[in-house]
Symmetry: C2
Subunit: 279 residues, 2 copies
């Protein structure tokens, strides 16, 4: 389970790297972006970033401007690819299913079940690999993501509270069992039994499992996917029922792009740093 | 000379836009990125950003993270493409000549002379277009750039001190008449008469024309082009002779990439804001 360096660059006093490794979970090579902040007396906490539909490990790395804040707060950032890829990996031509659209589930349906195991990859294999390969504090981990990656962050965290102690999301899919992108992905990867979908639905999970901390969600009001595909009000309602403190910020005039992610990422990194550095 | 909007996005409270217009200088459509900071009582000063080899208007826009600082300091940023493009525009397969490599000169040699007029475009047409199309203070303009764009910023500013009152560069080509990228470009666009090249050589210009202010240059020490293609020590020597105050910062461990640009762009924007806001 070794990790191979594709490239490293000094950035804001730290090191931005792109790495590749053979994944047991997906049975493919996976690429991952890791930013290590400037060296300090103790190993840094880690923030996992999960990206949205069509993204690779690169989009967040070059577009979000996160390194500045991670350096400032002394956080490592780990941003994996959004699915297995390559020849021999099942695919379709859709932007919202198949390669680039793993949805952070372990597929049970053919032909996806063979490689599309992003849930196991992100919740188990990747944290173990990072803790082994980088000088980070694996006992202090937070998770955040955008769109499909916001869905991933919320669901992976709520199912693994022992592993992640801080949680936030930007423009997340919160109710995939009831909204278009999610219904397509969950039916395709998990089959038609809608009960099985609820293990990957943030609204269902917060009501059944809750969350031991508070959650930050940012959402642009001019997001073209807001009304039918994202529906943050459903998560607000579910958190209310579950008694989980949610800070939902509806940000006037912002859309679904990385220009919005860049605008709010500083607040998310500060949010995670504050929670991950508590004793 | 109207400007057409390709897209706009809210970003850090301001507006990031990509625009297209028919250029008289180049005889082609040109694309340009404009960031307007959040509205304030008076129109903002303008910082022109010139990009390096292979770039379009997009690289700086998505990779530098400049919008945050521009919003903070109340500066507009204008980042044009690096050359004319399209069918009917001369080209070669080289990354360092032809489309994507205009070198901010007005070509005199066939087949380049017809469209490759980036000097006129950047020093005359574009500032006029921006002043007409956006609510900016066209009397307060600074210019900055990276690599080939650093060369552009230095040479365009020194030849047009009435138009640009603040000047800086990141990893600039400073002596194109004596270094590989420059020799190839100047010979190709301007012909073999080396005297003509000196009008586009920052080291020559600072000695013949000087500069009425101070200049900031950042350069990474691990830049793969430092020793033979960039040679900032030549500019330091020329500024010394000319009595022009140069702040040359050799930044330990940084390379030629946008990870370095992102690391220092905040300092450059602060540098320009301070100088452009003086009475």
């Amino acid at each position: 389970m070794g990790i191979e360096t594709i490239g490293t660059w000094k950035c804001f006093g730290g090191t931005q790297g792109i790495y590749r490794h053979a994944s047991e979970a997906t049975g493919t090579d996976m690429r991952v972006s890791v930013f290590m902040p400037p060296e300090s007396a103790s190993p840094p906490p880690v923030l996992y970033w999960l990206s949205g539909l069509t993204c690779t490990e690169e989009n967040f790395t070059v577009k979000a401007g996160a390194q500045r804040y991670a350096a400032e707060h002394g956080l490592a950032i780990v941003a994996p690819d959004t699915s297995p890829r390559g020849e021999g990996v099942a695919n379709v031509d859709d932007y919202d299913f198949g390669q680039g659209a793993g949805f952070y589930v372990d597929a049970t349906q053919a032909p996806w079940a063979e490689h599309f195991r992003m849930y196991s990859y992100v919740s188990e294999e990747l944290p173990a690999l990072i803790a082994k390969s980088f000088a980070v504090d694996g006992s202090r981990q937070g998770i955040c993501g955008h769109s499909m990656g916001g869905h991933g962050a919320l669901t992976v965290a709520m199912r693994n509270p022992q592993r992640f102690r801080a949680l936030s999301a930007v423009s997340p899919i919160v109710a995939p069992s009831r909204t278009p992108w999610g219904e397509k992905a969950l039916a395709g990867y998990l089959g038609e039994d809608r009960e099985a979908w609820l293990a990957h639905d943030a609204c269902a999970l917060v009501e059944t499992r809750g969350w031991g901390g508070d959650i930050l969600v940012d959402q642009g009001t001019d997001d073209e996917f807001l009304a039918d595909k994202l529906r943050p009000e459903l998560f607000e309602e579910a958190c209310g029922k579950a008694g989980v403190p949610l800070t939902l910020r509806m940000q006037e005039g912002y859309d679904h792009s990385y220009y919005f992610v860049a605008t709010v990422i500083g607040d998310h990194i500060a949010w995670h740093a504050e929670r991950l550095k508590r004793d």
